[in-house]
């Protein structure tokens, strides 16, 4: 792609960020959302986070791999257990990256 094309891409992606995130802030008060829909939306962020990380944890070499040699899964299980026990996010990330690296090199 030429320099101009890349800047065109940057411009349209910026527009995309703006449209999806800010449109409802600007016009939302003209739209009434049913109460039931509003209640359901409370669960959206948790579902979105799960949809982001679960494939990260389970998909290895482009397919679902539940095994001791999947570094993401091993790291996720051990770091997740550590977090539930210790509630330290920094510690969890450091431990998780250590396990990830060890399993990655060992397998």
């Amino acid at each position: 792609m030429s320099n101009l094309d890349i800047w065109a891409v940057i411009a349209v992606l910026t527009l995309g960020t703006f449209l999806t995130r800010a449109t409802f802030w600007l016009v939302g008060h003209h739209i009434t959302i049913p109460k039931r829909v509003h209640e359901a939306l409370r669960y959206a962020p948790a579902c979105a986070l799960a949809a982001i990380i679960v494939p990260d944890l389970l998909i290895h070499h482009d397919h679902i791999e539940v095994s001791l040699t999947n570094p993401q899964l091993m790291s996720g299980i051990i770091a997740g257990a550590f977090f539930l026990y210790q509630r330290s996010m920094l510690g969890t990330i450091l431990l998780g990256m250590a396990v990830f690296t060890v399993v990655r090199i060992a397998s």
Partner: protein, 270 residues
């Protein structure tokens, strides 16, 4: 026994009276400006544990841009204007393939669709803001920031300092992301892909998610969303993610409803 409990009661009543008096005094002493600053700092502090993960994700996105052949200026332009990691990462292979601009636009739009749902949740809190403030803070919304905001302000009820708290969350998220991204842009060719630095971002989200699934209705939705996300992993434009969010929400609602209907008999609460 009776006496001591009575004195306890009076003293605790006194204490409550003193406390509320102290709070009133404190509120009188705290100027609006100070209150705003305090709430901003509270927002920053609330999300601070997640920031290292956000930075790691930014780092990976920065590296990916440079490895896709972007110049420094292009990569900096992309991170500071687009500010949407997943959309950027999805666009890069399309740019390398010289896909049409409108295809890249639609891809970015699809991947960001979850933010439409988030904005429906958060916008009603801030209907009183000026047009440009709404546009700006809407643009600044992040995935993890949303979770912290909702756990602090579950209802739309007006509260002093809410706007500043939100600013603290969103600004800290922005700084952490951009620091990582700029570092990635400049260090791009020094950090091997195989180190998997971006996995730190996954771990950070895991830490945000785990306390949420202690509530069973949320767990039901998260399990459903995870299954759909895995099943639709190969769908184009990450549309499977939107499907996962919608199905997950429906499952949480169904669980909540089922629980309400049975709460009379089992009395189970969670």
């Amino acid at each position: 026994m009776q006496d001591s409990s009575q004195t306890d009661q009076t003293s605790s009543a006194d204490r409550i009276a003193n406390l509320s008096q102290a709070q009133i005094n404190e509120k009188e002493m705290e100027t609006p400006r100070e209150m705003q600053k305090r709430c901003f700092r509270e927002g920053v502090r609330a999300c601070s544990p997640s920031l290292i993960g956000i930075t790691a994700w930014g780092l990976v996105t920065g590296i990916a841009m440079i490895k896709s052949g972007f110049t420094l200026v292009q990569a900096l332009g992309m991170t500071f204007f687009v500010f949407a990691g997943s959309a950027q990462l999805a666009a890069l292979p399309l740019i390398v393939l010289s896909a049409p601009v409108w295809v890249i636009f639609l891809t970015g739009l699809m991947i960001n669709l979850r933010f439409v749902i988030f904005s429906v949740i958060i916008a009603p809190h801030f209907t009183y803001l000026k047009f440009w403030q709404k546009a700006f803070w809407g643009y600044m919304t992040g995935d993890v920031s949303m979770v912290y905001f909702m756990s602090r302000f579950p209802t739309e009820q007006a509260e002093p300092g809410k706007f500043e708290y939100m600013k603290g969350l969103f600004a800290a998220n922005w700084v952490a992301w951009q620091l990582g991204s700029v570092a990635g842009i400049f260090l791009g060719n020094l950090i091997p892909q195989s180190w998997g630095v971006g996995f730190a971002g996954t771990l950070a989200i895991l830490c945000v998610l785990l306390p949420m699934i202690l509530k069973r209705a949320t767990l039901a939705g998260v399990i459903a969303a995870s299954a759909i996300a895995l099943a639709t992993y190969h769908w184009p434009y990450k549309l499977g993610m939107l499907a996962a969010v919608i199905v997950g929400m429906l499952c949480s609602m169904a669980w909540e409803e089922w629980q309400e209907r049975h709460s009379g008999t089992s009395g189970e609460q969670s």
